[in-house]
Subunit: 337 residues, 2 copies
DNA sequence: CGACATATTTACATCGATGTAATCGGCGTG
DNA sequence: CACGCCGATTACATCGATGTAAATATGTCG
């Protein structure tokens, strides 16, 4: 099989120097129309295509960024990935998508490993990363974190105000007269993750409404999948007092909960209210449709890509910034909408 | 800011030649334990990481493959991507994920563009590609197609037997006494895509059961999303004769249809049956849960990666192969399961 | 028509890593 | 003790493209 032609082959075919071919490829202005078309023809005739490795080696940039998320089959991340790719595209960047499975080791690899050295920067949505992992990271590699609030100053960060979001969702339920609200996926201790921030917002809303907090209503889950939501409902229903609302910390949990409620002969919003987070498409079409906290995904993606590009271009070690993106509560059938 | 160290810097630090460092990095066997650890220390001390561009330039391979799918927020593709990444991982490959939006231009770019020349090969799930695009493609770039049956011989291909799958799904509905089965997303003319193959299987089942075919029951859709399924049901219900089953050509359509039926006061399987394709997770938790044709996604991903790797390694222009992967009908509530 | 400015093209070095082949050094053997 | 052998190490060229700076062509003006 014929090897792929190199710039030299094109040069010989067109009767010019390799550098002239390079100039044509890169739209250098001082190339006569005649040579330009001759080179173009040669490229066409030989089926030449730039070898990116050679180019990168010389130019020092790949024009690619890494997006590392826990799991693509979690709809929120798939939708987010779509937006990030679109945002990157607008800026002429290509996205290398990576799944970490939420494992610390793989998140570290996203920060330092193969991809990180290969692409110009990384957008990471961490689950298990520890503060010290960020503190000791190689700051020559530009990074933007999504979702959880990072240690201040360790890296740029983009996310919604999770405490406020959970507070608003809880207020909505309280306003509907709900008083016994379970937090599915909630956490009181452990890492300062999204779950803890949202649980805090929930408690703030309770306190403001003078509704006593009941730790039994915080229902932990293994993961944030449909099945975990279903399982959690099973656990909740076995208790003697049934809650009158479920604040599920993401839509998958909420949808799994809806399914389990249905199996138990209960329905939202008749018997209790259900609210989720993320506004994934499935929640718009579920029966009942799902009330949810909708983060502005477009804005998240846009900010993340901009911040990253800034880091890449001014390699300087500026202060890390913290970008807070809008969110809004979308009230649908599952809580009376 | 200090530039990233090169292999030369490590060599100087360790007091050996650059090539020796390279040998350590690549686990060359004839390196004394002493030098090996000295080099390792130097690498550690300087925070050295291999520059992939340099390596690829020299080795001619990136160890990366491209996976190009229409849209990540279509759950089937997200789930498939997850499996492909896992399969690639097992073989030491990294996946560059690309969204084409189903646009021909971007699918072509996946075959020939930036990624294609950059990675070692491409797995493409085409929607709009024309036969001639494949016929004229640069066969030096290894490609595996997913989903639709390609022109024989043009490229390796992996997929389920769509005709048989649709036939079985239809037989299932017929066996339940359904006689007026609408095909949501079906197509009688146009490209030889998945939709046409599945419609053909549907017709074969009807014919075998001596149920007359009614072209009005083939309901076209703009795209294969939730909303299109909902819209299609709206159109179907405006007719005078209501069908007694919906064969939806993917799960998103089916779930959108379930939602629209609910809004119309109808329910599956009481008033009519609903069946989908793809077995996405949402269908296991919907109300009612969704009967669907489940392709073996693990097998699809595995075959695709193997075939591609074969192509990459034996660059020869062997015959293109056609891999048919298992599928099975999963009967759930929406058709009486 | 010559001097000089401007436009076009080219030679050469270089990015970082690694394959090839040559060199070096230590050890066993006759 | 010289020789041969083999494992360890190194010098050098090379992968493909492009930046730099110099060379060459073209054109303008007095």
């Amino acid at each position: 099989m014929a090897p792929r032609p190199r710039i030299k082959d094109v040069a010989e075919y067109a009767g010019v120097s390799p550098k002239t071919v390079s100039n044509v490829i890169n739209d250098y202005e001082h190339v006569s129309e005649k040579t330009r078309s001759a080179v173009r023809e040669a490229i066409e005739a030989l089926g030449y295509r730039v070898n990116i490795a050679g180019r990168q080696l010389r130019k020092g940039r790949t024009g690619m960024i890494t997006l590392a998320v826990p799991e693509l089959d979690v709809a929120y991340f798939a939708e987010l990935a779509k937006h990030v790719m679109a945002a990157a595209d607008r800026r002429g960047l290509t996205v290398l998508l990576h799944q970490t499975g939420g494992a610390r080791e793989r998140e570290l690899a996203a920060l330092h490993g193969f991809d990180a050295q290969f692409t110009d920067g990384t957008i990471l949505s961490p689950l298990s990363l520890l503060p010290r992992d960020l503190a000791t990271r190689d700051t020559r590699l530009p990074v933007v974190l999504l979702g959880e609030r990072s240690q201040p100053g360790s890296a740029d960060h983009v996310g919604i105000d999770n405490v406020a979001a959970a507070r608003e969702a809880t207020e909505h339920l309280l306003a509907r007269g709900r008083r016994s609200i379970a937090v599915v996926g909630g956490a009181l201790t452990g890492r300062q993750g999204t779950d803890r921030l949202r649980t805090r917002g929930y408690r703030e809303a309770l306190r403001a409404a003078r509704v006593p907090f009941d730790a039994d209503l915080v229902v932990p889950v293994d993961a944030f999948h449909w099945q975990d939501g279903a399982r959690a409902v099973g656990a909740v229903l076995r208790r003697d007092a049934r809650p009158d609302a479920l604040l599920c910390l993401n839509d998958h949990l909420a949808l799994g909960a809806l399914r389990a409620l249905h199996e138990a002969g209960l329905a939202a919003p008749r018997d209790l209210d259900v609210v989720g987070f993320d506004d994934i498409e499935a929640g718009r079409f579920s029966v009942p449709s799902l009330t949810t906290v909708a983060p502005d995904k477009t804005a998240i993606a846009d900010s993340a890509v901009s911040l990253l590009l800034d880091r890449i271009e001014r390699r300087g070690a500026e202060e890390a910034t913290d970008h807070v993106v809008e969110h809004r509560l979308v009230v649908r059938e599952s809580s009376g909408g």
